[in-house]
């Protein structure tokens, strides 16, 4: 379970995240929506322990991220924005490194690496330097490292960005398949994705939560029944206020 209470993050005079609270239960896929600069990535960076909040608390599976950060980090698999990885390494070297850091050993490590390679269809590129791979493959390498240790909590910052429609479909199926007993938080610009994979959607604008409901509830807000219209209506009202 992820519990977030009164989370605030300020960068100098700018308040990037302004008093956000929500919880995510196991089995839920939470979609984070919002215009660019709304505070989605900043919130994810705080959940994963990369940035320290200005105030507020975050608990991941009972561990507070500030006080017990190593335990919290062990529970989390994280795909940062842009899916960074070490370009000079090959996917197999990269996954072995991540496996070592995650404490996977010997046969277990090999088994997990083989599993994620086949889940994300990386077989043909495992021995090529990551910097020579296409954007879609880089993104999948990033995803494979996030799920390598079979984490209880998955935080994915724009997991399908740069993938073609088939790859997007497969990644969504993968997320759905894993979400049964796990907690998944994804951020996205793609509104159809919310409908396709998320069980709960949070819309953030100007650092505040402006909607927290199921995708069906969101859709029923609009007379047209289109997610784009709902999104525009909610976020532009917030920006004007």
């Amino acid at each position: 379970m992820i519990e977030i209470e009164n989370l605030v993050k300020k960068f100098g005079p700018l308040t990037a995240v302004n008093d956000i609270s929500f919880t995510v239960e196991p089995g839920q896929v939470l979609g984070f929506l919002g215009p660019n600069g709304a505070g989605k990535s900043t919130t994810m960076k705080m959940i994963t322990g990369f940035l320290a909040p200005t105030s507020g608390t975050i608990r991941v599976c009972g561990h507070t991220v500030e006080g017990d950060s190593l335990q919290a980090k062990r529970e989390i698999g994280y795909l940062p924005e842009g899916a960074p990885s070490y370009g000079e390494m090959t996917p197999i070297q990269f996954l072995q490194f991540i496996g070592d850091v995650r404490g996977l050993k010997g046969a277990k490590r090999k088994e997990r690496i083989d599993t994620v390679i086949s889940q994300l269809h990386l077989q043909q590129v495992i021995n090529r330097p990551i910097e020579t791979l296409s954007k879609g493959f880089k993104r999948r390498v990033g995803l494979s490292q996030a799920i390598l240790h079979d984490p209880q909590v998955l935080i994915l910052d724009e997991p399908t960005d740069g993938l073609d429609p088939n790859q997007k479909y497969e990644v969504r199926e993968l997320i759905k398949g894993m979400s049964q007993d796990k907690i998944v938080v994804i951020s996205t610009h793609i509104l159809e994705e919310v409908d396709a994979v998320c069980s709960q959607a949070i819309i953030i604008a100007n650092g505040r939560v402006v909607a927290n409901e199921t995708p069906q509830e969101l859709l029923s807000r609009s007379p047209t029944g289109r997610m784009d219209d709902v999104f525009r209506e909610i976020t532009s009202a917030e920006e004007l206020s």
Partner: protein, 244 residues
């Protein structure tokens, strides 16, 4: 502790995965050889020691070590990998030490590849190998000091060129802090004990005494403290700058 080893191994392998390692080693070996024989008058001196070789190390390191250290954290920040690295279940200190040790071992490999010089001098004469060993130790300690400074500076910027230039300037100040060029800058306004303290910070003073064969505990403590302080500052800088 185990994590330091994992970070160390990955970092060291990354040097050899790119041409960086080979370019650095070739340049280092060519320059140190050329300086020893042409400017150090290795033969003409008629003495069986490696003083002309070790005397050039501070000046070689001044430019070559920042070239190694500049990418340590600047690249990590530029590529966004720092976010991946620091959300893995490792501590900041483990990451800082692991990366530093990899850079230090890499530099040490380059330095130890100069062993043909040691063979040459033993073939030509009968040098004091104890002094040579001490000089190698002093040289590696000094390289560690340069690297720790460079690592910290590298964490302040995403731009490797800026990291390189600022590291060279700070290393130069540390190298020459016993010399008038630096001391005169402070003498006008700082109290004498500060000027003395700055003078005692000089790499050259400590390195020269070790390279003459005298391994004084104070010189070892000097380099160990210097490395420790700069690595601590390195961790603080990463913590402060990671949001930007």
């Amino acid at each position: 502790m185990k994590n330091i080893g994992i970070i160390f191994k990955r970092e060291l392998e990354s040097y050899f995965a790119t041409p960086v390692a080979y370019v650095f080693m070739v340049i280092f070996l060519v320059l140190s050889g050329a300086l020893t024989f042409h400017m150090g008058n290795f033969y003409e001196r008629g003495q069986a020691d490696l003083a002309p070789f070790f005397n050039f190390h501070p000046w070689l390191y001044l430019f070559l070590v920042p070239a190694i250290s500049m990418r340590l954290w600047a690249e990590e920040r530029k590529s966004g990998n720092i976010e991946l690295l620091l959300t893995l279940p490792i501590t900041m200190i483990e990451a800082v030490i692991g990366k530093f040790l990899a850079a230090w071992l890499f530099t040490s490999i380059a330095v130890l590849l100069t062993f043909p010089l040691w063979i040459t001098v033993n073939y030509l004469g009968d040098p004091d190998n104890g002094v040579i060993l001490a000089a190698y130790i002093g040289s590696l300690l000094m390289a560690g000091g340069f690297l720790a400074i460079g690592a910290c500076i590298s964490a302040t910027t995403k731009n490797q060129v800026i990291a390189f230039i600022i590291s060279v300037v700070i290393c130069f100040a540390f190298l020459l802090s016993g010399f008038p060029i630096v001391l005169d800058f402070f003498r006008g306004w700082a109290p004498q004990y500060i000027v003395d303290a700055i003078a005692s910070l000089s790499f050259l003073t400590h390195y020269t005494s070790i390279s003459k064969g005298v391994i004084d505990l104070r010189d070892i403590i000097y380099f160990a403290t210097l490395i420790g302080c700069w690595l601590y500052a390195n961790a603080v800088v990463i913590e402060m700058k990671k949001a930007s």
